[in-house]
Every structure is written in structure tokens, then in C-alpha cells.
């Protein structure tokens, strides 16, 4: 049975169809894998009973020949998606007791397609972090830690999502990405993750971090599985005013085409940052080579405002967050530090309820929006954001996709990065696409010298996930990445 957990969604679907195993057996296998990996701390809330119940329902549909696209597929949900009747905490003390009585659109889409919920996986608090260490419930541990016998960060914020898939404890997981929160942990954990175009997946019911940047996406082992998950997760939602009123193409069809003739791949020279390790540079070059072998044209391009993307992001995201997180005030739900005066109640509830990184970002966000600083910081960042978008628009006149490394390094040790700014540098390659709302994907592409996963990032034009997936499946095919499980 244990070989079940090393399969992909498509393989499990095939097995279920052929009655090699039942949905319940599949679910049991992933439950056991989760339980035997307890020390990796995947889950804020493990919903074993619910999973078994959902598996039974799936199996009865399979038996009656009315099975849906994800029937029998156990998945994990980032604890940022509101799930009806199941604790949803954003990995924060302030929502430590919050049980929504509503279901996010994306998770509802998944349940409607038959997917089985294993539980809510940990993430950085309110998705603010690149290491999972800001979680109130303790960081998730990267399953690759065993390779070097040190506790490695799974990355973040969707670190739990990437780790649980990497360990073979779930077939897929949902993630959210604001500045790299799907792609960076996917790269660190040696799995695949796509942040689709802003607006592709509904934000309704996902706890907001920075509304103009937040986007949901899947984390899976393979590109095909990501495409399949994205098919289900995407779609117009009238409850989200920023949701794209566009049809969802069949993303799976975009995968597995190994002829890249006429496809133009841009290599942005500004992504060669100083101090980048040679293993990353080598991997990137290997990546060009693979695509060139398949017939693609490799073109050097310039995105001149790249180096301003991170500072821009660290104005805009905290500004939006400072406002989005104002609702956590101890009045309507969540943690309350009771006081005799309302303002004390607010100030103490929020001082105790939020962790340091969240507080830091709220303070930065409040500062950059406050009187006297708005123009110098917030308005300025909005203008630079425009320049970054214009950079991409210009480049995408000449190329179909852009290829970059996902991260400037492999996974780091838990506790090794104490300084906020060096932590923020983790997202140096992922943030520009976020600011421009573009689809971007990380594919596991190789190993570092000490045997840790490295990812390549493919950035596409707005709503052109198809070319991103196409290129990703070519890299996947050639990288022959040695998955952990």
C-alpha cells in the first residue's frame, strides 16, 4: 500500500478507475503518512474523520460511475482558506479559535469536484513570511531536512502546503501567493507550484494579506497535477470584484507538449544578482539548454526596474495588510484581551494576538499610509509598480515566457535568518511577477551541491498559464527530479 503515497494525482485517478484500490484506501495511506510524519508539524488542524467520511462519499460516486474529477484525491488546505465548521487560524493566535460558518470559493470548488480534505496545514502567520517561522503554532519542517540532518525551513508562507506534498502526505495542497508564497516553498521542498494570473482564482473566503497581490494556486508534485488542480480551483466568482470574468481553459491540455518550436523564452539579465551562488546560475543555464533543445528561442531581455520590486512590494503589501488586518480587533470573533476600555481592548488584543512579523508589517503599512508619508512611500510605490508592469509589457512583446531561478538559494536552516531584510530577499525573483499580476510557476529542476531541491520559475503573460505550463512540463521532463517520495 505504501507505494500509493509516491504516486501523482493522475496515477491515483487511474488506479481508482481500475479498482486497484479504493478512495478509502488511498485516504488511509495519506492519513498514515501524515501521522508518521508528526514531527514535521504539517497540520494546524488534522481532519482525519472528515477525510474518511469524504473518502466514503467519493467511493460511492466512483462505484455508481458518477465520479467527479478529483474524487478520491486527498489534499491539504493552507490554513488561510476558510473552511466551514473547521478551525481556520491563518496560523495566528488572534484567530486561534475561529471556526468559519462559510467555505471559501476555491475550497468549495475542490469539494464539489470530489477532493478529500486531510486538514489545514501551517503557514506563516497571515501569510507574512518566507520561512514558516512566523506561525503561532510553530514552523513546519521541510521533509528534505533528513538529507542534511538539520531542521530546514520549508519556506513560506505556504510552507506546510509544500512540505506535506513533498513528504508524500497529501497528493496536493492549496497555497496562496502574495509575493512568492507558493513558488518559494515549492522550490525549497522540491515540488511544483503555480501562482496563476491575479483574478484567476477567487479570493472570496481566503484570509486577506494584501488584496491587490493575493492569489491562490495549487502545490503538487507534477506539472500535470498542478494543471488539473488549477482547472478545478479557477473560475469567475461574482463574489470577488477582482475575479476575472474569463473562461478557464483546460490547463491539462497545455502540458506534455515537448515541441517548443517558435516559442520565445526571455532571460532577464537583471535577475543575475550579485552574490547569487554558482549552483543557481548553473541550474538556470541548464534550464535554457533544456528549452533550447526542445526548439525554443532563448532571448536575453531586460526588466530594468527589477531591483525596485522588493522595496515596492514592502510598501504596498504592508499598506494593504495594515488595513486588511484591522478587523482583528477582539470584537466580533477570535482572541480578545479583555479590558475596561475599548481602546485598551484593541491595543492589547492586537499586541498579544499578532506575532512580531505581522506587527512589524502592520506598523510599516500604517506608517507608509499616514499623513506626510503617503506620497513619499505609498504613492511612490504605486508608480514604481506601474514601471515594473511596463517592463514586463515591453518584454512580452518579444517573448512568450520568462525563465528565472525561483529563489536565490536552497532551503535554509530554521532559525538561521534573523534579519527581516535578508528574509525578504528570499522573494527577490518571485515578487516582480506578483506586482504585475502575472502567472508564474516553480518547477523542481535540480539539487544543490548538498542535495537540496532547487526550482526554476517560468513567468507568463497575463492569463497565459498555458505557455507557462507547457514550458514547465518540458523542464520537468528533462530535469527528472528525484522526488523524496
Amino acid at each position: 500500500m505504501s507505494e500509493i503515497v509516491s504516486k501523482t494525482i493522475l496515477q491515483i485517478k487511474e488506479g481508482l478507475k481500475k479498482r486497484d484500490y479504493s478512495a478509502l484506501e488511498v485516504t488511509d495511506a495519506f492519513i498514515s503518512a501524515s501521522e508518521s510524519n508528526k514531527k514535521l508539524n504539517f497540520y494546524n488542524t488534522f481532519t482525519k474523520e472528515k477525510a474518511i467520511e469524504m473518502a466514503k462519499t467519493s467511493q460511492s460516486r466512483i462505484d455508481s460511475g458518477e465520479d467527479k474529477i478529483l474524487d478520491g484525491i486527498p489534499i491539504a488546505i493552507k490554513d488561510l482558506f476558510c473552511t466551514e465548521g473547521t478551525l481556520t487560524t491563518a496560523s495566528s493566535k488572534i484567530l486561534g479559535n475561529f471556526i468559519p460558518n462559510y467555505e471559501s470559493t476555491v475550497t468549495q470548488n475542490l469539494w464539489d469536484a470530489g477532493a478529500i480534505m486531510l486538514g489545514k496545514v501551517g503557514c506563516d502567520e497571515f501569510a507574512m513570511g518566507s520561512s514558516n517561522e512566523t506561525s503561532f503554532f510553530g514552523e513546519v519542517i521541510n521533509p528534505w531536512s533528513k538529507v542534511i540532518n538539520k531542521n530546514l525551513s520549508p519556506g513560506g508562507s505556504s510552507g506546510g502546503s509544500a512540505a506535506v506534498v513533498s513528504a508524500g502526505a497529501a497528493l496536493a495542497a492549496t497555497g496562496t501567493d502574495t509575493g512568492g508564497s507558493i513558488r518559494q516553498p515549492a522550490a525549497f521542498c522540491g515540488v511544483t507550484g503555480i501562482k496563476p494570473t491575479y483574478g484567476r482564482c477567487s479570493r472570496w473566503g481566503i484570509i486577506a494579506f494584501a488584496s491587490s497581490l493575493d492569489q491562490a494556486g495549487p502545490i503538487t508534485k507534477t506539472v500535470n497535477d498542478s494543471a488539473l488542480m488549477l482547472n478545478v480551483m479557477s473560475g469567475f466568482d461574482p463574489k470577488d470584484s477582482t475575479s476575472a470574468n474569463k473562461n478557464t481553459p483546460d490547463f491539462l491540455k497545455a502540458c506534455g507538449n515537448f515541441n517548443l518550436k517558435n516559442l520565445k523564452v526571455g532571460i532577464p539579465k537583471e535577475y543575475q544578482i550579485s552574490g547569487m551562488s554558482s549552483e543557481i546560475i548553473n541550474l538556470w543555464e541548464t534550464g535554457h539548454g533544456w528549452l533550447k533543445d526542445r526548439g525554443a528561442d532563448i532571448i536575453e531581455v531586460s526588466l530594468p526596474h527589477t531591483k525596485y520590486a522588493l522595496p515596492t512590494y514592502y510598501v504596498i503589501a504592508p499598506a494593504e495588510a495594515s488595513s486588511n488586518l484591522a478587523r482583528y480587533d477582539g470584537v466580533k470573533y477570535g482572541y480578545r484581551n479583555s479590558q475596561n476600555h475599548l481602546d485598551d481592548l484593541y491595543a492589547n488584543t492586537r499586541a498579544d494576538g499578532f506575532g512580531n512579523e505581522v506587527k512589524r508589517r502592520i506598523l510599516i503599512g500604517t506608517y507608509v499610509l499616514s499623513a506626510g508619508y503617503y506620497d513619499a512611500y505609498y504613492r511612490k510605490a504605486q508608480r514604481v509598480r506601474n514601471l515594473i508592469i511596463q517592463d514586463f509589457n515591453k518584454v512580452f512583446k518579444d517573448v512568450d515566457v520568462i525563465l528565472t531561478p525561483t529563489t536565490p538559494s536552497a532551503a535554509f536552516e530554521v532559525g538561521s535568518q534573523q534579519d527581516p531584510i535578508s528574509m525578504y530577499m528570499n522573494d527577490v525573483f518571485t515578487v516582480p511577477a506578483s506586482l504585475a499580476g502575472l502567472p508564474a510557476m516553480s518547477v523542481p529542476s535540480g539539487l544543490s551541491t548538498n542535495g537540496l531541491p532547487l526550482g526554476l520559475q517560468i513567468i507568463g503573460k497575463q492569463f497565459d498559464e498555458e505557455n507557462v505550463l507547457k514550458v514547465a512540463s518540458n523542464i520537468e521532463d528533462q530535469a527528472k527530479f528525484p522526488f523524496l517520495n
Partner: protein, 484 residues
């Protein structure tokens, strides 16, 4: 018009007032959610997940509210902005569940306009409109339910408001009152706000400052949440006097938000607003700017009804109604609707007299609104017809009117049943006149000897003989013939 001045101990002061009117859009559902705007429901009953700011909830705008704001802008002769933005106004308050109010800051949906206000003596003044923006209402805090707690009801949370901001063009409490009445009247004609001040559908914030003639603008104070015209006028007077007193005592006016206490007739600083605010407005990233086309705006323009100024002019120019009556009739849509129905094909002047004196008098006495008038406009019109064609006299008409008001009967039934038809034939009147003459031969002699003032006595006697139904004009004429 005479300039309104506050007379201090040392100097005279002018007052400068700007008003922010918060008018509730008369929508069924809220500005950004599908919950009901019903008034008077159980606490937290008309609250959606969005209104309660549950994690992950998102706003979706109600198109009707956009159209109503545009309509209101057009009704106030204002510029409609084809590009507008929804911003977040950030502050913490118990009845503000999101921790921000979605409002419009630098790009409101409606720009500058003007409104003409009217005074009882027929004078008018133009007041500038600065802008109108759409925004969410907050919930309600109840402070008197418990000794140490406040109770929060979010039923109003997210209800659509139009904030109509005037220029500081108002210079007396009376002008402020006239301005609010006019705004209310226009919105009610447009059907964009029901104008119900008791239920809070229309509330005012008043900015007041005082200055000596020729001086620059003084520091202003904002008095929040006034829910009647009377309170607005009282609050302005009270606050202006306070400011004059402060200045004359050598103190500076501090820009602050104050509350009006009608019982104590004073204004005092609002404690909850003590922390100087920095609202950190920024575009709501959950929403996209609103872009309107000319076509969209023109379609709304085409649907605009006649407004009070036009109606007033029409009443004066085409119906012969006096300026004063015209402004009274045009103020409320229900009244002008009544008037136009009642005066259809008749003498408008006569109808307006009956409407503004008899009908208004009786409605007031019985505490009724015109919509609930027992006399329908058609019946009032018929009554006027019976007067015009001489069927009844004006005096009898008052009795008929009273009976109609009491019984809701139509005037011809009342006249028939009570036999009140005017006697207008000489054949019927001459015998009565002869009877009066033969019964008062002594007075006839006195009259003929020059005591002409007795003529009225004979008229009265004839009227009495006819139980008041004789046509007074004809009686006059016939009596003159008989006596001379």
C-alpha cells in the same frame, strides 16, 4: 436679505457654515452586500458575512446605489465624474467591523454643483455643492443598555449613504435649515432617499466657524450627527455663540469634533474622537475604479422627474399660484402631485387656496400627511368646480369641505344630501326678497331716506331666509332693483 450676525460683547461676528448631509440611498440591499436595509429589525438580523467583516469577505457594489448617486448629482446640477474610486477610510470603532469604512476620497462619483434655497419672503440664495460621494454606513452602538458595556448592532453596517458636502456658503441658521429642506425635497422628488430624518435616513454634520467682517475664515468645529432641521439650526446658533465667547475671552478655537446636546443646549467635544485622526485613505484593493460612459449618464438624465424649482416656476407662470404657495406646494412631491391632480382643467389659483388653507389646516389638525388625506385630489377639484360654476357659495363650500373631510364623500353627494345647492334663479329669490321687504317696511323707509348702510342688513335677511344658499351676487342685484 439682512446679514445674520452674532453680537458679542465687543464685536459683531458673521458665521460660516458648511454642511455634510448623509443621505441613505433608498436601496433594498446594502452598498457592498446583499443583506437588507430594513429599518427596525432585530439586532444583527440584516447582517451578512461581509457586513460583519468576517475573514476573507469581499465587497461587490450595488449598481442601483451608483445610479441613485448619479441621479442625485444631476438633481443638484452637479458634474458626474466618469472616473471614480472607492477608498478605505481607516479608523477603529466598535461599530465599524472592518476597521475601515469604504468611502470615496480623491475621486468621488459626483463633483461640484449648486442648489438654490428659498426663504418665506420669496428670496433665494445659491449654495455651492462641493461633491457627493458614496460610502458605507457604520453599525450602531447602544450605550444605555448596561452600566459598563456598550452593545453593538450591525444592521446599519454597510448601508449605502450619499454624503453631500456643501461649500461653506451658508451664513445663518435659517439658511442651513432652508438648505437641508431643499436637499431633502430634491432627493425625495428624485426618489433617491426617503428623507426620513427620525429614522436616520438623513443626518447632518455641521462645520461652524465665526469671523469678523473682513477677516479670513476662522477655525471650524464639526458637530456630528444631527437628525433634525431644528437641531441643526440650534446647534449652529449654540456653537457660534460658544465660539464668539471663546474668542472674546481671548481663547483660541481648537479644530475638533463636537456633539450637540439638545437638552442642555450646548456643544461639547466628542470623547471618542479625541485622538486626532489620520484616516490613511487609500484605494480599496478589493475594488476596481468605477468608469462610467456618457451614454450611461445620459440614460439616467432622461429618467429625471421634474424638480421643485421647475415645479415652483410652473405653478407661478402657468397656474397663477402665488410665489409663497408655489414654494409650499413644490416642496414635497406628494403635495405637488396632489395639486396637479386636483387642478387638472381648473383654476389653479383657487385650487391652491383651498389646498394651502383648508386642506393643510385640516390635515395638520388631524396630524395627517397629504398621502392620507380623506379628501382625494379629484374630490377637492370637484368642490372647486361647484364654487366656480355657482352651484355653491364659498361659505357653503366650507361646510361641504368639512363634511367631505369627515366622511370621505364626494362633494356632489354632500351637496345633494344636505340640499346645499345655491339658489341662483330670480324666480326663487324674488319671493324671498319680497317677504323680507314686507316684514321690514320701517327699515325700507329708513334706507330710502338715506341710511344706505342698511343694505347689508337686507342681504343678511335674504341669506337667512334661504338658509345661506342664496347666490349672494344675485341677491345683491335683485335687492338693489327692488329697493331703488
Amino acid at each position: 436679505m439682512e446679514k445674520f450676525l452674532i453680537h458679542g460683547e465687543k464685536d459683531d461676528y458673521q458665521i460660516v457654515v458648511g454642511l455634510e448631509v448623509h443621505a441613505q440611498v433608498n436601496s433594498q440591499s446594502k452598498l457592498f452586500s446583499g443583506s437588507s436595509t430594513n429599518f427596525g429589525s432585530k439586532p444583527n438580523e440584516n447582517v451578512s458575512l461581509v457586513d460583519a467583516a468576517m475573514p476573507g469577505m469581499l465587497p461587490v457594489i450595488n449598481e442601483f446605489c451608483i445610479k441613485q448617486a448619479i441621479k442625485s448629482g444631476l438633481g443638484l446640477n452637479a458634474k458626474i465624474n466618469k472616473f471614480s474610486v472607492f477608498d478605505r477610510k481607516n479608523y477603529f470603532y466598535a461599530d465599524l467591523p472592518q476597521g475601515y469604512q469604504i468611502s470615496q476620497y480623491s475621486d468621488p462619483i459626483v463633483g461640484e454643483g449648486t442648489v438654490e434655497i428659498n426663504f418665506p419672503d420669496g428670496a433665494t440664495k445659491k449654495i455651492g455643492i462641493e461633491r457627493i460621494h458614496l460610502e458605507q454606513d457604520a453599525g450602531k452602538s447602544l450605550h444605555d443598555q448596561h452600566p459598563s458595556k456598550s452593545y453593538i448592532d450591525l444592521n446599519r453596517s454597510g448601508v449605502a449613504l450619499m454624503e453631500i458636502v456643501s461649500k461653506p456658503d451658508i451664513s445663518s441658521p435659517e439658511e442651513a435649515g432652508a438648505y437641508i429642506k431643499k436637499i431633502r425635497s430634491i432627493l425625495r422628488y428624485l426618489g433617491t432617499c426617503d428623507g426620513n430624518m427620525e429614522q436616520g435616513s438623513l443626518r447632518c454634520d455641521v462645520n461652524v466657524s465665526v469671523k469678523k467682517d473682513g477677516d479670513p475664515l476662522g477655525i471650524r468645529c464639526e458637530i456630528k450627527n444631527l437628525n433634525s432641521v431644528r437641531f441643526v439650526m440650534q446647534a449652529i446658533t449654540t456653537e457660534a455663540h460658544r465660539q464668539v465667547e471663546e474668542i472674546e475671552n481671548g481663547n483660541e478655537i481648537i479644530q475638533e469634533t463636537r456633539l450637540f446636546d439638545a437638552v442642555k443646549s450646548e456643544t461639547r467635544p466628542m470623547r471618542s474622537k479625541e485622538n486626532a485622526h489620520d484616516y490613511r485613505y487609500f484605494p480599496d484593493p478589493d475594488l476596481i475604479p468605477l468608469v462610467l460612459t456618457d451614454e450611461y449618464i445620459n440614460d439616467i438624465k432622461k429618467s429625471l422627474p421634474s424638480l421643485p424649482d421647475q415645479i415652483r416656476k410652473n405653478l407661478v407662470d402657468n397656474y397663477g399660484v402665488s410665489e409663497y404657495d408655489a414654494s409650499v406646494i413644490s416642496e414635497e412631491k406628494e403635495i405637488s402631485d396632489y395639486f396637479f391632480l386636483a387642478s387638472k382643467g381648473r383654476d389653479g389659483k383657487l385650487v391652491s387656496n383651498w389646498l394651502t388653507t383648508e386642506l393643510f389646516g385640516s390635515l395638520n389638525k388631524n396630524n395627517l400627511k397629504i398621502e392620507d388625506s380623506p379628501i382625494s385630489p379629484e374630490h377637492l377639484g370637484e368642490l372647486v368646480d361647484f364654487i366656480s360654476d355657482g352651484t355653491i357659495s364659498g361659505r357653503i363650500a366650507k361646510d361641504v369641505f368639512a363634511e367631505m373631510f369627515e366622511t370621505k364623500k364626494n362633494p356632489s353627494n354632500v351637496i345633494d344630501e344636505k340640499g346645499l345647492k345655491q339658489i341662483s334663479s330670480s324666480d326663487d329669490l324674488i319671493p324671498m326678497i319680497e317677504r323680507v321687504i314686507s316684514n321690514n317696511l320701517d327699515k325700507v323707509d329708513e334706507y330710502k331716506n338715506g341710511k344706505e348702510q342698511l343694505f347689508g342688513f337686507f342681504v343678511g335677511q335674504v341669506m337667512k331666509e334661504s338658509s345661506g344658499k342664496a347666490n349672494p351676487k344675485l341677491v345683491n342685484q335683485l335687492l338693489k332693483e327692488k329697493l331703488n
